[in-house]
């Protein structure tokens, strides 16, 4: 089965990852040549007829001289090749630093054990809005991510867009992304961060500027209050159970910041940082027993009567 979203350093979707891939292929080509030459030389060395030299004695001085020459040339070639590779590496780093001179979109990336939070600064009465798991960015514009760690070290990595950068407590790191075409990219935490390091994924959704603005406007608004009785019951369950102490939903009195913001959870592709598909069955299972799919996750299980759980699931799914 092929990957669902772009997730490979070998299939870049922007100048940053492309620069790196080009450099990687240059190194790979040089490596292939070096490997062939060295193993080839070894093969020839072993295949040649034994030059008659008394056991344990040095070969004749003429033979030694020609060998010295060969070793010296090989060493010189090694040095020159390595200098070439070093220059290529520094040059690539330099061109990666030269993104088109546009004002970047700034987004704060907050890493938690074990989920990603994205904060978009906005002007207006609210200074920002928060999402989780899905990072939306416009194409053909630099995106400047400010990486923040709240607990341990994590590392933000989207292979098809750029290399990785650590988020370190007590330190502010910056990483640039630049997508040159619309598409969805899979990312994952790359620094071991504890029990659920494996399930700390996220998506980067690169959209046209128009789509991005629309998405932004939509995120700024609150989800409409539920109208049908089942979803109204769901809202009640949410507010009266432990859910609201950790999660926030815009337009309600739930403003917990321990877990992901759920204002638009219904629109996300996946749940639990990519661990589960976002459908009613999985959502219900997740609420009932998150530990079975993501052992060690901070979210406690919330046993509810079946009816309440269904209502809660319906309500959450409607948050789009």
């Amino acid at each position: 089965m092929g990957p669902e979203f772009a997730h490979s350093a070998l299939e870049p979707s922007g100048p940053l990852a492309s620069h790196i891939l080009r450099l990687f292929y240059a190194y790979l080509d040089v490596s292939a040549v070096v490997f062939t030459l060295v193993i080839g030389a070894l093969g020839i060395a072993l295949g040649r007829k034994r030059q008659e030299v008394p056991e344990g004695r040095e070969p004749s001085s003429a033979m030694l001289r020609s060998r010295s020459r060969a070793v010296t040339w090989a060493t010189a070639a090694t040095v020159l090749t390595l200098i070439g590779l070093l220059i290529a590496s520094v040059a690539t780093g330099h061109s990666m630093a030269l993104l088109p001179p546009q004002p970047p979109v700034r987004i704060q990336v907050i890493s938690h054990k074990w989920w990603w939070e994205f904060r978009y600064p906005v002007s207006g009465p609210a200074t920002q809005f928060r999402t989780a798991y899905e990072l939306h960015i416009p194409v053909n514009r630099p995106v400047q991510l400010e990486l923040v760690a709240t607990d341990v070290i994590h590392s933000f990595w989207v292979p098809s867009l750029n290399g990785k950068r650590d988020a370190i407590p007590g330190k502010h790191n910056v990483l640039f992304l630049y997508a040159d075409r619309p598409g969805i990219h899979e990312g994952q935490c790359a620094e071991f961060c504890g029990t659920q390091h494996a399930n700390m994924r996220f998506l980067v959704v690169a959209e046209t500027p128009a789509q991005f603005s629309a998405w932004r406007e939509h995120q700024l608004g609150s989800p409409p209050p539920p109208t049908d009785p089942v979803r109204q019951r769901g809202l009640e369950v949410f507010m009266n159970s432990r859910c609201s102490s950790c999660h926030a939903i815009a337009g309600t009195v739930a403003f917990g910041t321990v877990g992901p913001d759920l204002s638009h959870v219904g629109s996300r592709t996946r749940l639990a940082m990519g661990t589960l598909r976002n459908d009613a069955a999985h959502l219900s299972r997740w609420i009932d027993d998150p530990q079975s799919d993501k052992p060690g996750v901070q979210m406690p299980s919330t046993p509810l009567p079946a009816e309440d759980r269904q209502a809660l699931v319906a309500y959450l799914q409607g948050l789009r």
Partner: protein, 639 residues
């Protein structure tokens, strides 16, 4: 030449037999470097098997997406213990064990410079290893990685004893490794046979000497680091707590200042063995002895200047990062020089195709790949893509299995006759070599691709949608022939103890001094002290021998030219190193549970050290002039 000192030769004094004790006492008290070295090797191979079992369990869990062989908690303990075992309990000790056994024989010393310290090193190592595995079996295995990054490994995010176990394991390991390193350095410098000047040392001895210096310089960094971590965890200091003015990155600098040289500490002895095997197989002097020695020294120095390439993703200024790229790329040059010198040595030599050389061929192909991917990792942009992915897992196994385990298998096959007096079975040897080589490449080559396709390290599971399933399955399938090959090798080693063909003194027609002794060598007090007259003493005709040295006397020579300096008494075997190691282990482990462990432990250790070092009534060191003679050349050995 005679392999055993003639008992009829008059000796100056002290020929009294040591007091007889029970065999258990003798076993615990022995100060024979052969026994200590053998114990190190056997114990390390035992931990190699345990670490391998952990690796197979992890491969089973990763064989397919969403497998349920291991949960995350167990998986994290296993990969941490696997890494710590292979680095601290297998790779370093097995190389040091081979050094303890062979360095004295190769430089013509009777025993180690500090035989009792050698014994202490073994016991402390054994106790540390047992401590780790008892912890793992009681579900207290360390689970924050063999690198124990803070804050994850700090008191807040790793409550309980698991990380403390790791920090104390480091204490055990560093005590043992430092004891061996100091021992090998002094043995090499001061206990060489007359004539074994520095420019005549076998390459393996050079590699072991350089490595020992690296241990001496690298270990203090991790001693400070793990000490600060232990203080953060047990006493409540804040060295690494950013919220209280500490620095999380400080840990990484200190750890990798040790951790990167550690890699070279592991494979420099390995490629030293490659040199020995290449010379033996080609029946030629090594081409470029001096460049190879200098390459070893250069590698050791450069190794301390490139730790930051483990930290490129932490967000360093670009200029600083470029410096470390340059240093990391530079280190390929000395390694390249060694490759070229081996090829020049082998050129037109029609080497004998025996099992040790088979492992050397496997080394050539795999270590070269590991080195080339290492150059890729030195480049900041490439590094930022593949860092902390399976690409790095593949790279490091190509370097460590390629650069250390293949040579180690080759080295053990090469030296098995000297270790045991028997030959290994060639048939089983080739079978092991083939299985390990094929299995290894099948297991690790696909991991390069997995890393490039986005698979991070240290994840216990992955989703089917990632498309990583197929190559992970291939990797798991390859891990089994690799493990089987290692078992075949060990089975061969165990079986040949009894059934192997009896080995003569020098079955490979090798060149260095250990092959002048019987296989296995006689007890240290009966070992003759040779006089080396060339770099390849066994190929250059008659070997001299020092006459006039008492059985319990040890000849100390000068560091550079190996001229005799003075004679000292060999220390008697004693149980005190064992007892001191027990006290030290008690202290280290007790400190996990109570601060009282420290004062009580220090008191116990002090008492045992007092007994250990209580002066005896033996004569002090004396001058050698005019007493010692070289048997082969009737002249004084001394100047």
């Amino acid at each position: 030449m005679n392999s055993v000192l003639d008992p009829a030769l008059p000796t100056a004094n002290t020929t009294t037999e040591p007091r007889r004790r029970s065999s258990v006492y003798d076993w615990l008290a022995t100060t024979e470097h052969t026994a200590i070295g053998r114990r190190f090797i056997v114990t390390a191979l035992g931990f190699f098997v345990l670490g391998g079992v952990l690796a197979l369990l992890m491969r089973l869990q990763l064989a397919r997406p969403l497998a349920h062989v291991l949960g995350p908690d167990r998986y994290n303990q296993l990969f941490t213990t696997h890494g710590s075992t292979m680095m601290f309990l297998f790779a370093v000790p097995v190389m040091q064990g081979l050094g303890l056994y062979f360095v004295p024989l190769m430089v013509g010393a009777k025993n180690l410079a500090f035989p009792r310290l050698g014994s202490f090193a073994f016991w402390i190592y054994l106790f540390g290893g047992i401590f780790l595995y008892v912890s793992l079996l009681s579900n207290t295995g360390p689970d924050a990685g063999w690198f124990s990054y803070v804050p994850l490994a700090g008191p807040e995010h790793s409550p309980g004893k698991r990380v403390d176990v790791w920090a104390q394991l480091i204490t055990f390991t560093e005590l043992s490794a430092l004891s061996v390193a100091v021992n090998l350095i002094v043995t090499t410098f001061k206990h060489k046979a007359p004539g074994m000047s520095l420019d005549r040392l076998p390459i393996f001895v050079w590699a072991s000497l350089v490595t020992s210096f690296m241990v001496v310089f690298a270990m203090p960094a991790v001693i400070v680091a793990s000490g600060c971590l232990a203080l953060d965890r047990l006493v409540g200091t804040h060295f690494f707590n950013p919220a209280e003015g500490g620095d999380a990155l400080l840990w990484q600098h200190m750890f990798w200042f040790f951790g990167h040289p550690e890699v070279y500490i592991i494979f420099l002895p390995g490629i030293g063995m490659v040199s020995e095997i290449v010379v033996t197989a080609s029946r030629r002097p090594l081409f470029g002895y001096v460049p190879v020695v200098l390459a070893n020294v250069a590698t050791a120095i450069l190794a301390f200047g490139l730790w930051v390439h483990h930290m490129f993703a932490t967000g360093l200024p670009q200029l600083g990062a470029s410096f470390f790229t340059g240093a990391s790329i530079l280190i390929a040059i000395p390694t390249g020089v060694q490759f070229f010198c081996w090829i020049a040595t082998l050129w037109g030599s029609r080497p004998a195709l025996r099992v040790p050389f088979g492992f050397v061929l496997a080394f050539f192909a795999t270590f070269l790949i590991g080195g080339l991917t290492g150059v890729m990792l030195a480049s900041v942009p490439i590094n930022l893509q593949v860092h902390d992915t399976f690409f790095v897992v593949a790279h490091l196994h190509y370097v460590l299995i390629g650069g250390a385990i293949f040579p180690m298998f080759g080295g053990i096959t090469h030296w098995y006759p000297k270790l045991t007096g028997r030959m290994l079975s060639e048939r089983l040897g080739w079978l092991a070599c083939g299985l390990v080589f094929v299995g290894f490449n099948l297991a690790f080559f696909p991991q390069h691709l997995l890393g490039l396709r986005g698979m991070p390290r240290r994840i216990y599971t992955y989703l089917p949608e990632t498309g990583w399933g197929f190559w992970n399955l291939v990797s798991t399938v390859g891990a089994f022939p690799l493990g089987l090959g290692a078992l075949v090798f060990l089975y061969n080693a165990a079986r040949s103890l009894r059934s192997g063909a009896r080995a003569e003194a020098n079955p490979w027609h090798a060149h260095s001094l250990e092959w002048a002794l019987s296989s296995p060598p006689p007890p240290s007090r009966d070992c003759p002290v040779p006089v080396a007259s060339s770099r390849y003493p066994l190929w250059s005709g008659e070997l001299g021998r020092v006459v006039g040295l008492g059985r319990d006397e040890v000849l100390v020579t000068r560091a550079v030219d190996a001229d005799p300096d003075h004679v000292v008494h060999a220390p008697e075997p004693t149980i005190m190193p064992f007892f001191t190691a027990v006290c030290t282990a008690v202290m280290i482990i007790a400190c996990l549970f109570t601060p009282w462990g420290l004062p009580v432990g220090v008191t116990l250790i002090s008492i045992s050290l007092f007994i250990w070092f209580w002066p005896t009534d033996r004569e002090p060191a004396f001058d050698t002039n005019h007493r010692l003679r070289d048997e082969a050349n009737p002249r004084e050995v001394t100047r």
